[in-house]
Amino acid sequence: MKRITASLILTILVTLSLVNAQTAQTGSNGKSAINSPVTLKLPNKQDSVRFVVIGDTGTGTHQQLELAQVMLRYHQVFPFEFVLMMGDNMYGGEKAVDYKQKFENIYRPLLDQKVKFYAALGNHDDSNQRFYEYFNMEGQEYYHFKKGNVSFYSLNSNYMDKKQVDWLNEKLATDTTTWKIAYFHHPPYSSGGAHGSDTKLREIVEPIFVKHGVSVVFAGHEHFYERIKPQKGIYYFISGSGGKLRQGDVKEGSPLTEKAYDRDMSFMLIEINDKQMHFQVISRKGETVDGGVISNPRKTS
């Protein structure tokens, strides 16, 4: 009798493990993200600057993990070198264990393949994240780095004070790179119902972007994807559903929207080659929800 009971318990445990393993690989709608086809629509040239844009990730949930798994699958066919993080890298606590649960454990396979993450700070992020080894912030809340013919400006939109504005102006004034890209947490333009456009931030940074030839701006904060109609020649994107989703939050018929996706979480694949920037937006189910090409980067006015 004891043997039968033990066998029964063992069988139940094995069955539960299998069910758990299956659940981990399946989205909430039951459709497997792991097995969805990888459909790359980018040129994928060896000499391109290839990267991912993702925002508002730091939840540590299985949905964040699922999206990371889709990113990993795309990395196998599109070996992006680095990931831009739009902030809110860590929701809730920021103890050592949180760094592991909400970041390292989620992106470990990409970290192991030497993919670098370049973070911006969101309104849920402690300033000390700038010292974190995997965020590559050089101990600064705002910083700059170059990859090929592309300049990246990671800004701290939580606190756009005079010091940061002066730094940005000075840095851009001497930047002769073909592509100048800025990224930060709060979106200057947004069709989100919960937050919307950050007009006070826009009032300060947009004239600087226009003057110094910034072509593309990435932001997060809104938990969806949105491509804004070009504003003053600048392409604005929101990619803020890397760990959280605000379903149905994009205002229908917004005059700002070129394309939006708020039905599931997503990330952006970007490829820059000479004077063209290609982008493809991938959902948690592995589907392409937007894509296109931006040609001829802006010049300093």
Partner: protein, 194 residues
């Protein structure tokens, strides 16, 4: 020499429009009165006195690497908090935000947020923000699990400049001074919202 009245009216209207436009953009160069200048300087000196003290304490600690492990970040922050808290025992509200400084800052905020801006800003700070549970206690840490509400960029251009180690933050209708590294609430002033 006679001035053409039509030209004078056109000129006056144009001047008004330019002033209104600049004011709406928050870019009016406000010239500080000697009294305002004195108040701002005193406030900035008090903020600097705090940062000088905390810099001396930080210098005695192991330096945090730019490629630190999460455990190192956590330990550094905790130890830094403990040292500053011990050094500032007895710190109280108003040590940096003197009554004069608080009045001066309230006036700047009131001037920055008018009409629709004021309503939107109050809405963001009082309704939308998730940081309502932050206890207001000088020399205690800002809870790390709580949102740090974005400071409006146009307002930051007008407020007295702080040393790089300090940040202004809104919690409910209060304006806080927070140390960006150790997360301690250095001081706060009440009724900051217009």
């Amino acid at each position: 020499m006679r001035i053409n009245p039509v030209l004078a009216i056109v000129g006056a209207v144009a001047l008004c429009l330019v002033t209104v436009h600049q004011s709406a953009k928050g870019q009016t160069a406000h010239v500080l009165s000697p009294n305002e200048k004195q108040i701002a300087e005193t406030f900035e000196q008090r903020a600097k006195a705090y940062t000088k003290m905390r810099e001396q304490l930080e210098a005695q600690m192991p330096k945090l690497s730019k490629e630190a492990k999460p455990e190192e970040i956590e330990t550094h922050k905790k130890q830094f908090q403990e040292r500053v808290r011990a050094a500032r025992t007895g710190a109280k509200p108003g040590d940096v935000f003197t009554p004069e400084a608080a009045t001066y800052i309230r006036a700047i905020i009131k001037d920055e947020f008018k009409g629709k801006d004021k309503l939107e800003f109050r809405d963001t700070v009082l309704r939308e923000s998730e940081n309502k549970e932050v206890p207001l206690r000088v020399n205690y840490p800002y809870p790390e699990s709580q949102e740090l509400l974005e400071m409006p960029a146009t307002l930051l251009m007008r407020l007295p400049q702080l040393p790089k180690q300090l940040r202004y933050r809104f919690v409910r209708s209060n304006l806080l001074l927070v140390d960006r590294e150790n997360g301690l609430i250095v001081d706060y002033m009440t009724n900051a919202l217009p």
